[in-house]
Symmetry: C5
Subunit: 83 residues, 5 copies
């Protein structure tokens, strides 16, 4: 699962049917690449999150019929280096 | 989901059966890479769109049997930076 | 779907069972990377094609049990810039 | 399957339902890219592991309903150059 | 399908259940990146092979329950430039 930061929200009136009830967040990778993800956990601006991609992205939504290939799976509180 | 811009249309007479009734659009990533996507939302030239890839691309078509791995999922009106 | 050019054919006598009756073509991306694809449309040398990857690659074959993750989905005649 | 090194653990209180009982490890590729994986094998700090991605990542968990796209599949003891 | 060269074998005693009876080979891309693949065809050291990834990787194994996302699909004897 990829590590990304919430960069904003997407406004999008014309979309395919299967995305009806979803919040779309703009995410940024550490290298600056932007992508769009469904957000079922309610991430806040600036949050670091990790994302599920591929078919896992659909199952990560409350409704598994949502048409997404990228979904926020959790908000990272902090991480601990080992050892 | 990736963010891309509509760059043109593809004319393609010889194709596999499962792509029969689909509009094929040429998309360009912000870095300039070109790819081909099925367009069920009717994007216009120059539109910024976001795309579903993998198995989600098939479900994003009105007919889920369409043989695509990249489908336009929505047209981006604008995006709002958080905070 | 990715845009690639037919660069040659692969000769391969030792292969897994699920690839028995398939033509294997060598494809080259615009950046020069080579990969191997199943060719159900009969592309000719030098043709520009677009490819289906992932699970879509299997469904793009006449026999969906073919063990491929990359299949030629169509031959590009030409493309039209929008506007 | 990708080769990565265990770099730490992720603490994450807000997450999607399907990740309830999983250890989340921070992995680092040889090029330094970080990602998050489910760890069913109990890797130790500094271990080199290989990972299953995509739908295989879910099947690699004791419970195949786990919502992951990256799972540690094994710990590398050592590798032998051929010949 | 990607083109890679057999670089060695992986020794790995601690692994997930679904990889029990598989040979794990170390593969190298033309750019030098290493990854781990299941080998059902019996590739030899130095062989150039092509690999199936994603869900196709599982079906390419004699037992489709094997937990792999990369499987050697064939050994390349040689390739012929077109035209």
């Amino acid at each position: 699962m990829e590590i990304m930061q919430v960069a904003g929200s997407i406004v999008c009136t014309q979309r395919v049917g299967g995305l009806d009830h979803c919040n779309l967040r703009l995410l940024r990778t550490p290298k600056g690449k932007l992508s769009v993800a469904v957000d079922p956990v309610g991430a806040s601006p600036g949050n670091w999150v990790f994302t599920a991609s591929g078919s896992a992205a659909r199952f990560a939504c409350p409704n598994p019929d949502v048409l997404t290939d990228l979904t926020i799976a959790g908000i990272i509180d902090f991480w601990e280096p080992d050892g």
